[in-house]
């Protein structure tokens, strides 16, 4: 048996867990750990410029790879700076382990320098948190942290490590546990066979079926099973913003995404459906609109790994608790074996109706001869990258336009803070993706408001050579706030105007990168092409777009799924 200090055990455990990169920022309480990091070269550390960015980097990596990300920070402000990032990961169920230094256990509770009760502060935004009480526990705690973070419904796990748990000259026997067993944590490994059978019978009998898929399909690595089932049935499918890419957007059965800024056809089909099969989504308020008016004629089958997601806001007629891949696999088998076939006439007339809805709106927007429309920026990017880039976004209008006009055919490529809506997420998330997928195109689509919330990371990009492309859809305002003010506050633009914007070109150059400004419509595509050709450079593209554009469709507040604004003047 080897004798190792707590700090060395921690790093060795990360090695044994197969962790390649950790993202972080050093400080007093974490210095023993940083010293242990320095004395090895298997686990590589990426130094960010603000701890929030470390968490978003780990998050971006986790969303692109499906594997847990890892963060290391010090106590007090280091730890509290991670909270927004942790809450972001929590809301979107992203697997992650956040290692936080803490003051020595003998000082806890004494208001020591850089002391914060991180166990207490993080509790409402973590799947679980663990505190080290003896250095010997470290390997088991690390194993448990990754196990909990990445199984069942994934989520962030915080590990609080008092400084005296990592003292260099106190050594203990190291052994990394092969297995973790928690008597109180046993995520479901399959769905209830009787419920699955019932669901398949309902699917076969449906006349106006609708499949509604969410981020759970991507987290559960079940895109192939979902695609197979949907294509076998020939039914229409929509997905949430978190589910983008779980089913190919270019396929004709795909109606686009649903909810507040979803497509007209998706929202109409949901409202008029007689059966909704929900796969790994959670009937969130941005999807349902007013719950009491939600899909009045529909019976609901709900598949989710988390029982608490079922019947939380919308009652399920057939709840199925289980991993989506396993449940969908069983459904595929049952559909294949079923003597009943879908009612071809009913399904054909349902499609006829859907096609009419699709033709009625079909994601149109008005173009102009001289100003660049934000939608055009996204469409150009989609064309120029063959729809195959990793796209991260921040939060606001640009995020909605990106989700609407960049058509994703594959999962794990669309990376956004859908649940918490965190401005400042996009750039560090893109960095996390680029670091791990250096040969792929990584775009950060952002706005001039959001990008300034983590702009300091341009420095990290320089240090580690992370040539992401930053697409700043610049409308010189907090566009979504302004849109709501236009619609609900008689255009009183309280604090939604970004005065004193920096010269982003000079700013990018100051950090050692390339800046490109686009403000003429005819320059849009040629200049973007040039930008994308600069493979080894981070390029900050500042694109001046129409300042008055709104995102449509937009559901009418407190209405049903089908109540929407389709433009500034058309309401259905």
């Amino acid at each position: 048996m080897e004798l190792l200090s707590g700090a060395d055990m921690l790093i060795r455990s990360l090695q044994d867990e197969g962790i390649e990169y950790i993202y972080g920022y050093p400080g007093g309480a974490a210095l023993h750990i940083y010293d242990a990091l320095f004395r090895q070269d298997k686990v590589k550390h990426i130094l960010v410029r603000h701890e929030q960015a470390a968490v978003h980097m780990a998050d971006g990596y986790a969303r692109a790879s499906g594997k847990p990300g890892t963060v290391l920070v010090t106590s007090g402000p280091g730890a509290t700076n991670t909270i927004t990032g942790i809450a972001t990961a929590f809301m979107d169920s992203i697997p992650m382990v956040v290692l936080c230094g803490q003051v020595a256990s003998t000082l806890i509770g004494e208001d020591a320098f850089q002391e914060t009760d991180m166990m207490g502060v993080s509790r409402p935004v973590v799947k679980h948190n663990l505190s080290v009480r003896h250095p010997e526990e470290i390997p088991e705690i690390i194993r448990k942290a990754y196990y909990i973070a990445s199984t069942g419904r994934p989520g962030p796990v915080v590990v609080d490590i008092p400084k005296d748990m990592t003292t260099p000259n106190e050594r203990y026997e190291y052994s990394f546990p092969k297995k973790v067993k928690l008597r109180s944590y046993n995520p479901a490994i399959r769905g209830h066979a009787g419920q699955i059978k019932k669901a398949v019978d309902m699917l076969m009998a449906a006349k106006r079926p609708m499949i509604y898929a969410g981020g759970g399909v991507i987290l559960g690595k079940a895109s192939d099973q979902l695609t197979e089932l949907v294509q076998m049935l020939g039914y229409p499918i929509t997905n949430t913003i978190m589910g983008i890419g779980c089913y190919p957007a270019s396929d004709k059965q795909h109606l686009g995404w649903l909810g507040m800024h979803g497509t007209y056809e998706s929202n109409m089909a949901m409202h008029h459906a007689d059966l909704i099969l929900c796969v790994g989504a959670r009937f969130d308020d941005r999807v349902t609109n007013a719950t009491e008016k939600f899909c009045p004629g529909a019976r609901i089958v709900h598949i989710d790994i988390d029982p608490a997601s079922i019947s939380k806001t919308i009652d399920a007629d057939v709840p199925i608790v289980g991993p989506v891949d396993a449940v969908l696999k069983e459904m595929i088998t049952l559909v294949k074996e079923s003597k009943e076939k879908p009612d071809a006439d009913a399904i054909a007339s349902w499609w006829k109706q859907i096609e009419e809805w699709r033709a009625f709106h079909g994601m149109r927007y008005e173009t102009s001869d001289d100003t660049i429309k934000p939608q055009e920026v996204i469409e150009a990017l989609w064309r120029l990258t063959n729809g195959d880039a990793y796209v991260t976004t921040d939060v606001g209008q640009h995020q909605m336009f990106a989700a609407q006009y960049y058509k994703f055919d594959r999962p794990n490529r669309w990376i956004n803070s859908g649940g918490l809506g965190t401005m400042g997420f996009g750039l560090p998330a893109a960095m996390g993706v680029k670091l791990n997928y250096p040969d792929d195109e990584v775009l950060c689509i952002t706005g001039e408001g959001s990008i300034q919330m983590n702009i300091q990371e341009l420095s990290t990009c320089k240090q580690y050579n992370l040539p992401v492309k930053i697409i700043n859809v610049n409308n010189q305002a907090l566009g979504m706030v302004k849109q709501w003010q236009d619609m609900n506050y008689e255009s009183r633009h309280a604090e939604s105007y970004m005065e004193s914007l920096p010269d982003f070109i000079k700013l990018a150059e100051a950090y050692g990168h390339v800046g490109v400004r686009i403000d003429k419509k005819e320059d849009l595509e040629p200049k973007l092409k040039e930008v994308l050709a600069m493979k080894d450079k981070l390029v900050f593209v500042d694109i001046y777009v129409d300042r008055f554009e709104h995102v449509y469709p937009m559901q009418v507040a407190r209405g049903s799924m089908k109540d929407m604004w389709l433009s500034k003047t058309e309401r259905v």
Binding site: M119, G120, R123, P124, K127, H128, N129, S131, I148, L182, R183, S184, Y185, D306, P307, A308, S311, K312, D315
Partner: protein, 163 residues
């Protein structure tokens, strides 16, 4: 509707704060809460009484079950059960009041556990309604201090909540 939820919890620091935090975080009510270790020292048993619609109660039990340190739980109000709460009351007891209080305590099957020349301390166990009834019978004017333990509960018959 009022519910009594009994929870077996890992007996670890911080576990209780997760349960309490969950209730405030998700806007659920806690009416009473009791917690103590069980015969198995690795486990605590926690009893919480709460009110809410069926949907809210379903969410409470599901969300509690999601906490990693919650090992098992049962909604006792779903079946026949026994519910007990302990109350200690200090009552002003002088002159003719002393005999009257003694009679009332006997009727409620309580005990006087401490006596001074002017004060009786009464111990009473029962369901929450019985304890309320006692206070009502005595009249609040004579009550100097009340301490109630909160509700503990157990299922009737052979059903047990254990590992």
């Amino acid at each position: 509707m009022r519910r009594i939820i009994s929870v077996l919890l890992e007996n670890e620091p911080g576990a209780l704060s997760r349960v309490v935090g969950l209730f405030s975080q998700r806007n659920y009510n806690i009416e009473t809460l009791t917690v103590a270790p069980t015969e198995d020292e690795t486990l605590s048993r926690l009893t919480v009484t709460t009110t809410g619609s069926d949907r809210v109660i379903e969410q409470i039990t599901k969300q509690l079950n999601k906490l990693i340190e919650v090992v098992k739980l049962v909604d006792l109000t779903e079946g026949a059960h026994i519910e007990r709460e302990l109350m200690l009351v200090k009552l002003k007891a002088t002159g003719s009041q002393r005999a009257e209080i003694k009679r009332t305590v006997d009727i409620f099957r309580g005990q006087i556990v401490d006596v001074t020349s002017s004060v009786y301390t009464v111990q009473l166990a029962g369901d929450s309604e019985k304890l309320d009834g006692f206070i009502q019978a005595i009249g609040t004017s004579g009550v100097l201090e009340v301490v109630r333990s909160g509700v503990s509960g157990i299922a009737r018959g052979e059903k047990v909540l254990s590992l």
